[in-house]
């Protein structure tokens, strides 16, 4: 079953007089439980595609169906709800909220979906255990290593049990060992049936993913399928 389906997705920006086609005619389909990497040089439209897939931005042309629902023309309130419920973000620089402790950070997406406090607290604890941070739940992000922070971010991305996990260079800020550990965690999530879409420069990720979309000049240049 297709979780992500785009039809002729395009995004234009008006830069003064000039119109920049950051993305044009992108039609991709990603199935349930797939592990996909999006690769390409800077300015190839990877980030634009990621922002569209993450419902942080809306396409100028084309359609985007997420879990069968057209999310390409929604108002702010609905779009925010889609982000909160169906998408789990993992950022390059972790993007944890500095003044909140681990548990509170994991709870953030649940707050916005109206999960009762006791329930969200228990779930956050459980997720922290799941990513191997059960003993440090009251620490602040600054007290953790980069790899540990990224684990918190992964736990947070899983909080509302989203349809897809979107990663933007999840290992970009990490040393190779921590990076490998994070990739192992992501592999484990994939084995549990999660759908993963990662934007990366990292060849290691490219090799772990089932399919790699190579982008160039705002288009999907070629699709590489790894034989796992």
């Amino acid at each position: 079953m297709a979780i992500v389906q785009t039809e002729d997705l395009g995004r234009m920006y008006q830069m003064g007089e000039a119109t920049v086609h950051a993305l044009s005619n992108v039609s991709i389909t990603i199935g349930q439980g797939e592990y996909v990497a999006i690769m390409g040089p800077s300015g190839s439209g990877k980030s634009t595609l990621l922002n569209l897939l993450g419902c942080l931005d809306q396409p100028t042309t084309g359609r985007y169906l997420l879990g069968g629902q057209d999310v390409s023309r929604l108002d702010d309130r609905r779009l925010s709800a889609v982000r909160g419920r169906r998408i789990g973000f993992i950022f390059q620089s972790y993007n944890l909220i500095a003044q909140l402790n681990i548990i509170e950070n994991i709870e953030v997406p649940m707050i916005y979906q109206g999960v009762p406090e006791a329930e969200s607290h228990d779930r956050a604890r459980e997720l922290a255990h799941q990513v191997g941070l059960g003993s440090r739940i009251t620490h602040r992000p600054a007290e953790l290593s980069g790899g540990q922070q990224q684990r918190v971010a992964i736990a947070r991305a899983l909080a509302n049990d989203p349809l897809i996990l979107l990663g933007d260079e999840p290992t970009g800020n990490l040393d190779s060992q921590s990076g490998a550990e994070i990739l192992d965690t992501l592999d484990a999530l994939h084995r549990q049936g999660k759908t993963l879409i990662l934007v990366t420069h990292d060849e290691h990720i490219g090799r772990r993913a089932q399919r790699v979309f190579h982008m160039f000049d705002g288009r999907i240049d070629r699709i590489e399928t790894n034989g796992h």
């Binding site: 922002n51 702010d76 709800a81 909160g84 973000f89 993007n95 909220i97 953030v108 109206g114 509302n160």
Partner: protein
């Protein structure tokens, strides 16, 4: 929704707590703004209420006529031997009673300041020569004994009613009733005790009595002594003599004051005009003055309104300044937390969630500031009352008003920063370091 709101408020409180010093300093603006609104209104209300009470004591249905010394006469008669006569007369009192229909009561009064003795204790008193129906017009009530009677008037009885402050001053242990007190060189028997009257109700030393208050031998007035008007006339006459630089200054004044009570407050002002015309015909020199307490009351109300507007604007400005301080800090906070806003948006926060988050912080600041402001605003008037000997009245409505204003300030000045936070592009916000 309610659940989300509750957690948002909790979040706001937490983030304020994280920046305790900043939050405290920001809220101080509101604390002082609210405190000043309440304190200023309390001081203003206290002052005006005191004025109104003083005026009300004069009686809203009363018109007070007072003898004043015509200014230009003093030098003209300085070296003559003749007696200078001026002021209100018994004939005036008669005329007023018989010619003006709306007049209910006329109380003619003779006022002078004298030394009074009981045994070896002395006091300066205001001697009031008056009529039995004095108590119908003036707010004097009898606590013991009796007031003046028509018989006292007819037989010029040397009886006196003294008020409470004087009784306490002259009679330490003895019962005043039935004893004789010496007023100047005459003896009067005390037959009644009356309540004290504020200075505004009697003529007072600065009033019309001052013109011939020859008896004043220094010292503050300890109280009032009421005696029959007829007895006053017999005992002390109407001519007072002063020796100034070898010249002999004699003055003849029949009455210091005539209080006219009319049927209702509606006819106070027309009657005032009639009185002016009536008396003006018999007094070529302007030797009397008309005081209308009702007019004073209205004037006091006007003054109060102006006073309130001035105080209100000062307080409003201070609240405005406090509010701008808050807006400033909130704008700084928003720009400092741009990234956090981006993260929250990516994790499912709607624009409204972000507005509530920042608005709740501003509201928490202003409302706690407002609460502390109320406390300070309640204490401040007490200190003013205690130190400045000024009456203050804190009304419930001023508290509600001040708190309401602080909430309004919070919403007004919190709205813009919150709106700015909410409308930021999440992608841009996430990119910000």
């Amino acid at each position: 929704m309610l659940l989300r709101l509750r957690r948002t408020v909790k979040l706001g409180a937490k983030s304020l707590w994280l920046h305790r010093l900043r939050s405290t300093l920001t809220a101080l603006g509101i604390v002082f703004g609210v405190a000043s609104v309440i304190a200023m209104l309390a001081i203003g209300e206290g002052a005006s209420r005191e004025a109104r009470e003083q005026i009300a004591r004069l009686g809203a249905r009363n018109i007070i006529l007072r003898t004043i010394k015509p200014a230009d006469e003093r030098t003209a008669t300085a070296n003559t031997d003749s007696v200078q006569a001026y002021g209100l007369t018994y004939a005036d009192a008669q005329r007023i009673r018989h010619t003006i229909p709306d007049v209910v009561e006329v109380v003619p009064q003779r006022l002078m300041t004298f030394q009074t003795w009981y045994r070896n204790r002395a006091a300066t008193v205001q001697l009031v020569g008056t009529v039995p129906w004095h108590t119908d017009v003036h707010p004097v009530s009898l606590t013991r004994g009796r007031f003046l009677t028509p018989v006292d008037m007819d037989y010029q009885q040397k009886v006196a009613i003294i008020d409470k402050p004087l009784a306490e001053h002259l009679f330490a242990v003895d019962d005043p009733i039935g004893t004789d007190i010496k007023v100047s060189d005459k003896y009067y028997r005390v037959v009644g005790l009356a309540t004290a009257v504020g200075r505004a109700a009697t003529a007072g030393p600065a009033g019309p009595g001052a013109g011939d208050a020859r008896g004043s031998e220094g010292g503050t007035i300890a109280g009032n002594v009421y005696i029959p008007l007829t007895a006053f006339r017999k005992s002390f006459g109407e001519v007072t003599v002063q020796y100034a630089g070898g010249a002999r200054l004699a003055e003849k004044v029949e009455l210091q004051e005539i209080t006219v009570k009319v049927a209702s407050t509606d006819v106070v002002l027309p009657t005032r005009d009639i009185l002016d015309t009536l008396l003006g015909r018999f007094h070529e020199k302007k030797d009397f003055q008309v005081v209308v307490p009702l007019e004073l009351l209205r004037e006091a109300a006007r003054t109060k309104r102006i006073f309130n507007i001035v105080l209100g604007s000062i307080a409003a400005i201070s609240l405005l300044v406090g509010g701008m301080g808050i807006m400033n800090i909130m704008l700084a906070t928003v720009s400092e937390r741009t990234r956090e806003i981006g993260i929250r948006r990516a994790l499912g926060a709607t624009r409204r969630d972000i507005v509530f988050q920042f608005l709740s912080e501003t509201l928490l600041l202003t409302l706690t500031g407002g609460l502390f402001g109320i406390v300070v605003g309640l204490v401040l008037p007490l200190i003013v009352s205690h130190v400045g000997q000024m009456p203050t009245v804190t009304t419930g409505s001023s508290i509600v008003l001040a708190f309401g204003i602080s909430a309004a300030v919070g919403i007004t000045f919190g709205m813009y920063p919150a709106w700015q936070a909410a409308t930021m592009d999440p992608i841009e916000s996430l990119r910000r370091e």
